[in-house]
């Protein structure tokens, strides 16, 4: 069955679930209370899924999420009231309240319109909070959303009190969904759509940028992910879902009460996400459904025990956090169970082969079709002109100048603290130089962020390996292919034919690179479980996946044994030739530096003290002095001078 048809069947079957649930609820005349609980489950699942996208997948803390619900609930209710008051005034009443199909259509349309207005309000709100706070790393989003939730509450309350003297907005007409009052089907369909959208997004090459940001934001931007954009995407999408849920809730209860969307509600939303296992969609859906039901059970406690409800709830929360920090399901998904069952059906032996050292014989062909070819031109020239950076009073690098021509392998050496990595950080946009210029083919790179610089063709590895530790080896490389994709988020969500084509291509390319680095057998292992040398190789493979023209390697041989170092040297030359790269290399191991570099720059205390061919550098007295100190005889002379 073609994949498109299969998707359609799955979608229709999935949409059947809410309708069936509604039908069964009506058929067996479930009590209004039970129906309300089922409605609530649908809503809370929607909310949990949206929040799981923000917290679990993108790793950002939104702790004022109820504020977006509040916006959705208030603006949709206001819209409905406004339409009922003004636009339907001259209308035939039968058109709104009649039994016919037309009337039902008008009511349903009005509900959809109101929900749209509500989600729009939530989207605008999330952009207002997200844009300033998501540019920064750390807890800023948490703090800003916390404040935002309170602002929304305060402003809505002030508005309501000024205009109606009341503390809530009431809708005086029950809108309908499919000729029924807002009900189980509507909430469950919303939940279903939320699950599908988020699942499709996070299981695509585009969407894997989100867990990459969660794992290591700097590394993510170094492989070309525009981190602010993706964080904002996750945040706005999650908030939009909250807005939709809020809109639905206000039309079910016929009230929009800002007081019910304050900090405590936000926490109630986060709890199932964390309990279920943040980063597991299955976990958060199950946990939020179970949690909603359990809270209702606690409501049924005898009144004497009522007061212990919050105590019980808070106590369980603290205990679970301490005893099972990763949540009940960890990162486990339903899809993993299917994969496990499939694996069991097949004979054993599909396991990864043990890692083998890099073989220099019979290298695979690097010029495979797809993203990595097509940039056949010579690498542009990179020049650094009098690059200087100061941290407070410390000048870490002073007037660093460098000219990298196409296809060179240049070494950057110097004692610890000389400023080598700082140079890399300036070139790749992690730090902004205090003075000087970096030019790539005569265009300045100063002020560009890491992702933009990676897009211009400069890739790097890190001194302290920065892999996406919790993701698989394959995913680490696939994420780096991210910038070459022509399909974006919509294609990932709607699963267009082009999406499948590119997804296949991305997988092929990634596997190709892994084969080149002898990592193919480890493709499905978690990156952090790899031995040190393999992690270093994976980092180079990941950098190459961004199809760079210039590759900056920061101490690639650190922690490798002599055999691995020998292999690394031939590997560096090989990738230069096969990919047609320019390579800039920081390294402490002199055998590697002297063996592979064609030209060497020596830094000491931020100053360039020597530059030249390896054999000249080896004998340069200033270099020897920087590494080993002055010869004994020179000391008195220096003293005399002073």
């Amino acid at each position: 069955m073609p994949v498109q048809l299969r998707n359609l069947v799955v979608l229709l079957a999935a949409l059947g679930v809410p309708l069936l649930a509604q039908y069964l609820a009506d058929r067996f005349a479930l009590s209004p209370y039970a129906q309300a609980v089922l409605f609530k489950i649908g809503m809370n699942v929607t909310l949990a899924v949206g929040l799981s996208l923000i917290i679990g997948f993108a790793g950002q803390f939104s702790i004022g999420h109820a504020g977006f619900m509040s916006l959705g609930s208030f603006f949709s209710a206001a819209f409905t009231s406004f339409v009922l008051l003004h636009w339907t005034a001259g209308m035939d009443p039968a058109l709104l309240s009649g039994d016919g199909f037309g009337a039902a259509f008008v009511r349903g349309g009005l509900l959809l319109g109101s929900m749209f207005v509500g989600t729009l309000a939530a989207a605008v709100g999330s952009i207002i909070v997200g844009v300033p706070s998501l540019r920064l790393r750390g807890d800023y989003l948490a703090i800003a959303t916390l404040g935002f939730g309170e602002i929304v509450y305060n402003l809505l309350l002030i508005y309501l009190q000024k205009n109606s003297g009341d503390t809530a907005l009431y809708i005086d007409y029950r809108l309908e969904f499919m000729s029924r009052p807002v009900n189980i089907a509507s909430a469950w369909i919303l939940a279903l759509l939320a699950i599908l959208v988020v699942r499709n997004l996070v299981s695509s090459t585009t969407g894997r940028a989100l867990p990459a940001i969660r794992e290591d934001e700097i590394a993510a931007s170094a492989v070309g992910v525009n981190t602010t954009r993706y964080k904002l995407l996750a945040f706005v999408l999650g908030s939009v879902l909250a807005g939709a849920a809020g809109a639905l809730e206000s039309h079910q209860t016929l009230t929009a009460n800002p007081a019910s969307y304050r900090f405590d509600r936000s926490i109630e939303l986060i709890v199932p996400v964390v309990l279920g296992g943040s980063g597991s969609l299955t976990g958060c859906v199950l946990a939020s459904a179970a949690f909603t039901y359990l809270l209702e059970l606690l409501r049924d406690l005898p009144s004497g025990a009522q007061q212990y409800r919050t105590i019980l709830y808070a106590g369980v929360l603290v205990l679970v956090m301490i005893l099972r920090p990763q949540g009940l399901m960890g990162r486990w998904e339903l899809g993993d169970l299917a994969a496990f069952l499939r694996r069991r059906g097949k004979p054993a032996g599909g396991r990864a082969a043990p890692p083998t050292p890099i073989r220099t014989t019979t290298p695979p062909d690097a010029s495979a079709p797809g993203f990595l070819s097509g940039k056949g031109t010579a690498p542009p020239r990179l020049t650094c002109e009098a690059l200087t950076i100061r941290f407070g009073g410390l000048t870490a690098v002073n007037k660093f100048s460098l000219c990298l021509d196409a296809g060179e392998i240049v070494g950057l050496i110097g004692p610890n603290g000389a400023g080598k990595t700082t140079c890399f950080n300036m070139i790749t946009g992690v730090y902004r130089p205090s003075a000087g210029d970096i030019r790539l083919a005569d265009r300045s790179l100063v002020g560009c962020n890491c992702a933009a610089i990676n897009g211009r063709g400069i890739a790097r590895t890190f001194q302290n390996i920065r892999l996406f530790g919790d993701l698989t080896v394959l995913d680490n490389v696939r994420i780096a292919l991210h910038a070459h994709l022509t399909t974006g988020v919509p294609a990932a969500i709607f699963r267009t034919p082009r999406f499948y084509h590119e997804e296949r291509l991305a997988r092929q390319q990634a596997m190709h690179l892994l084969t080149l680095f002898d990592l193919a057998g480890l493709a499905s292992e978690v990156a952090s479980s790899l031995p040190y040398g393999a992690q270093r190789r994976l980092e180079i493979a990941r950098a190459l996946a961004t199809a760079p023209r210039i590759l900056c390697l920061d101490e690639p041989a650190a922690g490798m044994n002599p055999a691995e170092k020998r292999d690394l040297m031939s590997l560096i030359r090989r990738i230069r030739d096969q990919f047609g790269l320019t390579i800039l290399l920081i390294e402490h191991d002199m055998r590697v530096v002297m063996g592979v570099c064609e030209r060497i720059l020596v830094l000491d205390y931020g100053e360039t003290i020597a530059e030249g061919r390896p054999e000249d550098i080896r004998d340069n007295p200033r270099v020897v002095e920087a590494y080993l100190g002055k010869p004994l005889g020179a000391q008195p002379a220096a003293k005399a001078l002073a």
């Binding site: 703090i143 800003a144 309170e150 002030i158 900090f263 808070a314 301490i322």
Partner: protein, 306 residues
């Protein structure tokens, strides 16, 4: 002008209280990089402990000056001791097991502890859900006239007390071995440990210091606003936390500055025609600061080491 002076004095009084609480947030954030959501509730416990002591000693019924001053000191002592104990227990049993867990876990645990404290104190057997009036007591001096404005003696007492405890805190941080340990631990856990700092002990002491300051704030607010309730920590905590961020979280002078700023702006706005926007303004200020100066007024965003 009179309006301005009296509002300024009230603002400084409120700001001082915020500063005392904000210091706790900032200290703990510095050492653990954790937003200690339960801190507002430690302050609440301080206020309630003072309330309990005041009731037990019949404060407000006796006319004897010495007895009254003695009871006031006892209130302070009981509040501080109970908050120290609470702060230690929270750190030891809720946060320490999570030292190596993802940050979100500590955050959720902090919120859980906060809810736990609030709901325990709302039990009828413990304190009850509704606010209770703090026993009132005529102070020897009536309202004082200052440049045409009326100032309550409590305000001056609180201002003086706040200043005193801020100086004590400053002394501890800057001039004691513990303070040096706190500063080292804030800088980097492992480096501090390598230099022989007992990080666990320092973390506990930091919680003790923060909790003690919160207790003092609790007593002052009880005296000043004549009312305590189990949820009083929620709003005050949120405001003080905002103050800490506005000043630059992790920066102690910033926490004090942020607290004073919050207190002043809140009273000015409350006394103006826009009084309804009091809380909205505080949080709008927060978002504005994050926008223009992400590190806060006195703090700075350190570049991450790559």
């Amino acid at each position: 002008m009179d309006w301005f002076i009296s509002q300024t004095i009230s603002g400084l009084t409120l700001g001082g209280v915020y500063a005392l609480i904000a210091l706790g947030y900032s200290l703990v954030y510095g050492v653990l990089k954790l937003i200690n959501f339960a801190h507002g509730d430690v302050y609440m416990v301080g206020a309630i402990a003072a309330f309990g002591t005041a009731c037990a000693f019949g404060w407000g019924q006796t006319a004897d000056e010495y007895v009254r001053s003695g009871v006031m000191l006892a209130m302070l002592a009981v509040a501080v001791v109970s908050c120290l104990g609470l702060g230690y227990v929270i750190e030891r049993f809720a946060y320490r097991p999570l030292r190596r867990a993802p940050r979100l876990n500590s955050l959720i645990t902090a919120i859980g502890v906060s809810f736990l404290l609030e709901s325990i104190f709302q039990l009828p057997g413990v304190f009850g859900a509704s606010p209770r009036g703090f026993p009132q007591c005529e102070l020897p001096l009536g309202p004082i006239r200052l440049a045409g404005a009326t100032v309550r003696l409590e305000q001056l007492l609180i201002l003086g007390g706040t200043l005193f405890f801020l100086l004590v805190c400053r002394y501890i941080i800057l001039h004691t071995r513990t303070g040096l340990g706190i500063r080292a631990t804030s800088f980097h856990h492992d480096y501090a440990r390598l230099m022989g700092v007992n990080v666990d002990r320092i973390t506990s002491l930091t919680f003790l210091l923060g909790s003690g300051l919160a207790a003092v704030a609790g007593v002052f607010v009880g005296l000043y606003q004549h009312q305590v309730d189990p949820l009083m920590g929620v709003n005050a905590g949120l405001k003080a936390f905002t103050a800490a961020v506005v000043g630059g979280i992790g920066n102690l002078a910033g926490a004090v500055l942020g607290g004073i700023l919050m207190g002043l702006s809140e009273t000015y706005i409350a006394g103006s025609a826009f009084s309804a926007f009091r809380d909205a303004f505080a949080f709008a200020l927060l978002i504005l600061i994050l926008l223009v100066r992400p590190g806060g007024l006195l703090g700075s965003v350190a570049p991450e080491k790559v």
